[in-house]
């Protein structure tokens, strides 16, 4: 079967996406769980241990508190309460922490520090897997054993106000609820007012047992303007007053009922210095946790420092406090200070219940649990506990009893700590089989791509894909049989859950057939290459391929980048790698330009003048590559002969200066957004601009950037899209002004902040309009075969539509990134690629490198925290999953996407013939190379310390990147098809 290089590459990338998806499914494990889930309620609680003597206390202890109010403030970092900010803005809370009847803790959240997994951790006490980040946006109902379900089963009436995630996690659990969506990040007053407005009514009523409030405003402020914003102070003061209101109301009620209530103030995760969350910095992990109840009374002078505990400990504590069984999957240990005031027998009973639950979980998840130190400690303390009970029942000497009780308590606490630690350390098993199948698919595709380089980059850009003949060969059937047999053996022998085995037999068979077909294809390509190699070595006339310095750099840079992915620091600081590479690329281009110009001047002045004259003459030193000998037809730049003289001098100087201009632009962009980990705290222009004192500067910069974007984009558009572009960019400014990022010159104070839905939709209409015009032009060019310019204009219009969309989605301080991207593209096109006549492969790889660098110039990094979620809700009134996902993905990957679409429009306007096919092939190859290598690296590093914090987010980014590459390659192929037809 003969295929064009582009089509072939696109098919390869699609298969690769399948492989990566399978790998990801296997890599992100479902965490190990207690098997007793549904029957847990039926299970009787563990009786009190008693050595010999008979204890009659087999029921669960009664609840300690009558009512429980959980006030969860999203993003409540520990120092917002216990630090200087807390003292300043939360006076009532500070009073409670320092002098009141309360226990305060610094609760450490586990990765990933995103809301939904944290809610699960708080309510189940278990550790949700990393994949919960991905599921964060559409949370399915929580089926695990948790405190809320237990409370509902025990007949407690629960009321919830706040983040909608809870309603989705616990459907039909609340007798009354009001969910607010957390997706309008720029709104930080209404989300909280929606919660508080119910408060007065509810507090007066007495018909509930548990009240849960989830306040989102603080986290939203963090996302929008960071933890040092003055808005944080206002929000904390508001939260403090709400806390006071709840507390006084609970106290007044207690005076009547004389049973203590519990008020829990906690955060789900912290907030990094840049305001995001999701990663593992200390600021993101440490949250405040305060338990307030009149039962925790303390003597004056009793200073309680906030102790460091785990976030998962809250579930067990809540369960004990409400008199419920502890959730089965909880790995937390009871926060002992909460039961300190109870009699010793009760204290020991609570500790015993918790230890029994933890040891049961340990037994189910660790085969050699008897050797665990925690289990031994538990057994010993249980024995001692039994002795204590006997002494207690015999009503022995109080002195002895007290001492023994203290000892048992200490033993239990030690055992709990050890058990909890060894359980949290239990990493879930990877689904190796699915991972392996995915890896094999990806590697086979990569091998196929590598083997077909010479053919695919030949001048006709077509290659013989040996797919059909091997399908009917013996090897294929043998492979297929062997693989199927292996599949059956693996799936019947493993006990652990395996995603690939869970697929239907037909699907699995299809995958097996695909793998064996790919293997046959690789084999036949290999055989062919050997045959060709022999032929070529016999043929001495074949010239040796010579590589220019640029090719060597490209090869070394790609290899170096792939190798650097093995080190966690290089992943965290990947932006440095790309900045370094594009700088070196610019210097190499500079060297090439200078050599071409000056040396030609020196020895062959005739030729040099030719080079300047629209750069028609071929540069022989650069073109003598036999592998990449594609015949780029020179597309002559038409120039008026009258202005040739002046233009020549000016153009020459521009050519000489262009690498330096590009380098300067890159340096400016680098200081716009500090990303990564090590230097992320350094001051950068972006923070300076977004701080509220510099709103005027930001407005000027945004306006200037929008004007420049128009100036750079409009030159090749048709008149209609020019007008649409101008109006669209105006709309972008209006949108930013409406949501309060920038100011209009006539508007002095920002009083009314709206969601800007109308303005954003206005821009969306223009984006769609421009894209539609572009598509129409492309279709027209297909009909009218000869018209080449229409197609160029159409592609440029599609490109400019994407630019407009990016301008809408980018934060205002990031608009210069877009301007510089357009500017660099213009300069490179005019003064470097055209004059130096690079071939399609080189141009593609340069585009890819710059695209990657711009991904980081935007402020992205390899941690989940830097994904700008607010971009997904521009112009949307309610949360709609598909558009929100699309917009977020586009805003995040805008750099690579824009550079790739520029590549398409540049290549199809400047060259003809096979260039697009070559470009598509190169793009597919250069994108799939890091992915394949990274999959192998991650598999081998799966027990690395930083696997969750560094390697997994990067894996998700790589998966997303290959998906986007597939889309880009499909676009390339479509363009290539129209090209060949016309």
């Amino acid at each position: 079967m003969r295929l064009g290089s582009g089509t072939f590459a696109a098919c390869c990338v699609v298969i690769e996406v399948l492989g990566v998806a399978l790998f990801l499914r296997g890599f992100f494990p479902t965490p190990v769980r207690s098997s007793a889930r549904t029957e847990h309620q039926a299970e009787p609680p563990a009786p009190e241990p008693s050595a010999g003597a008979s204890s009659n206390w087999t029921k669960l202890p009664p609840p300690l508190f009558r009512k429980v109010v959980i006030m969860l403030i999203d993003g409540l970092r520990d120092d917002f309460v216990f630090g200087s900010k807390g003292v300043k803005f939360m006076p009532y809370t500070t009073y409670l922490v320092e002098k009141g009847a309360s226990h305060s803790f610094v609760a450490e959240a586990k990765l990933p520090t995103v809301t939904m997994p944290r809610i699960k951790a708080l309510m189940t006490g278990s550790l949700p897997g990393f994949i919960d980040v991905v599921r964060n946006l559409n949370s399915p109902a929580l089926l695990e054993d948790n405190v809320i379900t237990q409370a509902k089963a025990a007949g407690k009436r629960i009321i919830f106000y706040g983040d909608e995630t809870w309603v989705k996690l616990f459907p039909r659990h609340f007798v009354e609820y009001d969910g607010t969506t957390s997706f309008f990040v720029s709104d930080y007053t209404e989300v909280d007012d929606n919660v508080t407005r119910h408060l007065d009514k509810v507090l007066k009523r007495g018909d509930w047992d548990v009240l849960i409030l989830h306040y989102l405003g603080l986290d939203h402020i963090g996302h929008v303007s960071g933890p040092s914003s003055p808005l944080i102070g206002h929000k904390l003061r508001e939260m403090d007053s709400i806390l006071m209101k709840i507390h006084t109301s609970l106290l007044s009620e207690e005076r009547e009922t004389l049973v203590p209530n519990l008020l829990v103030l906690c955060g789900d995760h912290g907030m990094s210095e840049t305001g995001g969350h999701g990663a593992s910095s200390v600021e993101e992990l440490n949250t405040a946790l305060i338990l307030i109840s009149s039962a925790f009374e303390r003597k004056p002078g009793d200073i309680r420092r906030p102790k460091h505990v785990q976030q998962t400990d809250l579930a067990a504590t809540l369960a004990i406090g409400l008199g419920l069984p502890i959730p089965g999957n909880s790995v937390g240990s009871l926060l002992f200070p909460t039961v300190e005031g109870r009699p010793v027998r009760e204290q020991l009973r609570f500790l015993h219940l918790n230890a029994v639950q933890l040891s049961k979980l340990l037994q189910e998840n660790v085969p050699s649990y008897t050797k665990e130190p925690g289990f031994e400690q538990f057994k010993m303390s249980e024995r001692l506990h039994g002795n204590w009970i006997r002494l207690y029942l015999e009503e022995n000497n109080s002195e002895v009893l007290f001492n023994l009780g203290a000892k048992v308590r200490r033993q239990y606490l030690d055992a709990l700590r050890t058990l909890s630690l060894s359980l949290s350390r239990q990493v879930a098993q990877y689904d190796i089989y699915s991972m392996l199948v995915g890896t094999v698919m990806v590697l086979e595709v990569l091998a196929l791509l590598l083997l077909s380089i010479p053919q695919a980059l030949s001048s006709e850009a077509e290659l013989e894909v040996p797919l059909w003949s091997p399908v009917f060969s013996l090897l294929f059937y043998l492979m297929f049989l062997v693989l199927s047999a292996l599949h059956v053996i693996v799936c019947t022998s493993t006990e652990s859950s395996c995603y690939f085995c869970g697929l239907s037999w037909l699907t699995a068979g299809g995958v097996m057939a695909l793998i064996s077909a790919l293997l046959c294809a690789v084999g036949s390509a290999l055989a062919k290459m050997f045959a060709d190699g022999k032929f070529l070595s016999k043929n001495p006339a074949h010239p040796k391929a010579r590589w220019s310095e640029l090719d060597v750099l490209i090869l070394l840079g790609t290899t170096g980048h792939v190798l650097s992915l093995g080190a966690s620091s290089f992943i965290e600081e990947e932006h440095q790698t790309w900045y370094f590479l594009i700088n070196t690329l610019c210097l190499a281009l500079c060297h090439e330009i200078y050599r071409n110009c000056f040396l030609r001047d020196d020895c062959e002045p005739q030729q040099c003048s030719h080079v300047e004259e629209g750069f028609v003459s071929p540069a022989p030193a650069l073109q003598d590559r036999s592998i990449r000998c594609n015949m780029l037809e020179p597309h002559r730049v038409s120039k008026g002969p009258t202005s040739l003289d002046t233009l020549r001098g000016y153009e020459k100087w521009m050519v000489l200066a262009s690498p330096w201009v590009i380098l300067t632009c890159c340096r400016l962009l680098r200081s716009l957004n500090q990303t990564g980990v090590q230097w992320a705290h350094r001051p950068d222009l972006g923070h300076w601009l977004t701080s509220s004192d510099h709103k005027a500067e930001l407005s000027v910069l945004a306006a200037l950037s929008l004007i420049l974007i128009f100036a750079l984009v409009q030159r090749r558009c048709s008149l209609t899209s020019k007008v649409a572009m101008a109006l669209g960019l105006l709309g972008v400014y209006c949108y930013r002004a409406a949501i309060g990022n920038v100011l209009f010159p006539w508007q002095r104070d920002s009083k009314d902040i709206s969601k800007g839905v109308i303005e954003a939709r206005f821009v969306h209409v223009f984006v769609l309009g421009i894209l539609f015009t572009g598509t129409k032009d492309l279709l027209k060019s297909q009909v009218i075969a000869a018209d080449f310019t229409i197609k160029t204009v159409g592609l440029w219009e599609i490109y400019s539509g994407l630019v407009l969309l990016a301008a809408l989605l980018f934060r205002p301080h990031n608009l210069p990134v877009l301007v510089f991207s357009l500017f660099i593209q213009t300069i490179m096109t005019k003064f470097i690629w055209k004059p130096l006549r690079h071939d399609a492969a080189e141009i593609t790889i340069m585009h890819y490198w710059f695209g990657q660098a711009f991904f980081y110039f935007q402020g992205n990094s390899n941690s989940i925290a830097t994904v700008d979620v607010s971009a997904g809700f521009v112009g949307l009134d309610t949360y709609m999953e598909v558009p929100a996902m699309f917009l977020t993905a586009f805003a995040t990957f805008a750099g690579p996407v824009l550079w790739a679409s520029h590549l398409v429009s540049f290549l199809s306007s400047e060259t003809s013939g096979s260039a697009l096919g070559h470009a598509c092939f190169c793009y597919a190859l250069i994108c799939s190379f890091p992915v394949s290598a990274y999959i192998i690296l991650v598999t081998s590093l799966r027990y690395h310390l930083f696997i969750w914090s560094v390697f997994s987010p990067k894996l998700l980014y790589e998966g997303m990147h290959i998906l986007i590459t597939a889309a880009i390659c499909a676009f390339f192929t479509a363009m290539d098809q129209t090209n060949t037809k016309s």
């Binding site: 440095q576 900045y579 370094f580 040396l599 020196d602 030193a621 340096r667």
Partner: protein, 266 residues
């Protein structure tokens, strides 16, 4: 000062004399005419090449030796001298040493003594021009480092001294060998442009210094928190290693490829 260090530096001295004596002798006695247009006897060409390579090797050993000396000699005079802690001092000293050795070798060896005019004023202007070129190259490198991401305002002295040492390793030999002549520089650093083994070795050492510097930037993002990861120590060390490697490699490479290398003379 550390006695062990003292002993080791003492033991280095005789070897220095051992190396330098034949070099100086070599240059003083055998001044083989280089520009022979008539290739009548191939063997003479070969011997010329061999002696040239030998001279090249000796000069390079001297350069390496000067770098080693710059590590050990200052500890006689300065308290608490070490490469990492008093890095800037070492940079200055190393730069001075290497420049001095290069100048000395240039005066003694005169690899291309082809300047016809040799009036004093000409020499003085040439020297001044060289100085200006050197300064310019320092500023040029400084700008490039900033473009590569070096801090613009902080650590200016560190960055500049790094530029100075890199200029010492690259620009100074070029100035010694080629003079202040940009065209010749461009010729030497493009493919197939070299005309003698001296230029060839210059090409190799310069490029390897650059590559060393380039590679020296790699460890900076790693979170090992070592003293040598501080800007610009890893890069200067990379440059030094690159330069030394170039000095070692170039005579060997030229010797290895002496059959294939043919230089067209001007």
């Amino acid at each position: 000062m550390d006695p062990a260090l003292f002993r080791s530096s003492l033991s280095v001295w005789p070897s220095f004399l051992l190396v330098s004596a034949p070099v100086l002798f070599d240059y003083a006695s055998q001044r083989v005419p280089r520009c022979s247009h008539s290739p009548w006897i191939a063997s003479q060409e070969n011997t010329m090449k061999d002696t040239d390579i030998k001279r090249l090797l000796y000069t390079h050993l001297l350069c390496i030796f000067s770098i080693i000396l710059s590590i050990f000699i200052p500890s006689f005079f300065l308290e608490n001298f070490s490469i990492l802690e008093t890095h800037l001092t070492w940079l200055c000293i190393c730069s001075v040493f290497v420049t001095a050795v290069n100048l000395l070798l240039y005066l003694v060896v005169k690899p291309n003594a082809s300047s016809k005019r040799s009036s004093l004023s000409y020499k003085v202007t040439r020297f001044l021009k060289c100085c200006i070129y050197f300064l310019m190259s320092c500023f040029f490198f400084h700008v490039i480092f900033v473009l590569y991401g070096a801090p613009l305002i902080e650590l200016v002295l560190e960055t500049f001294l790094f530029a100075v040492i890199l200029s010492t390793f690259t620009t100074v030999p070029c100035l010694c060998l080629l003079g202040p002549n940009i065209k010749a520089w461009l010729r030497v650093f493009s493919r197939n442009g070299v005309t003698s083994i001296w230029e060839n070795s210059l090409q190799i050492t310069t490029i390897s210094s650059f590559i060393g510097t380039w590679l020296g930037a790699f460890p900076i993002p790693l979170d090992w928190e070592r003293p040598w990861q501080v800007w610009p120590i890893s890069c200067t060390l990379g440059a030094t290693f690159g330069y030394v490697a170039g000095l070692v490699i170039s005579p060997l490479w030229i010797y290895w490829n002496r059959k294939q290398l043919t230089y067209k003379n001007h």
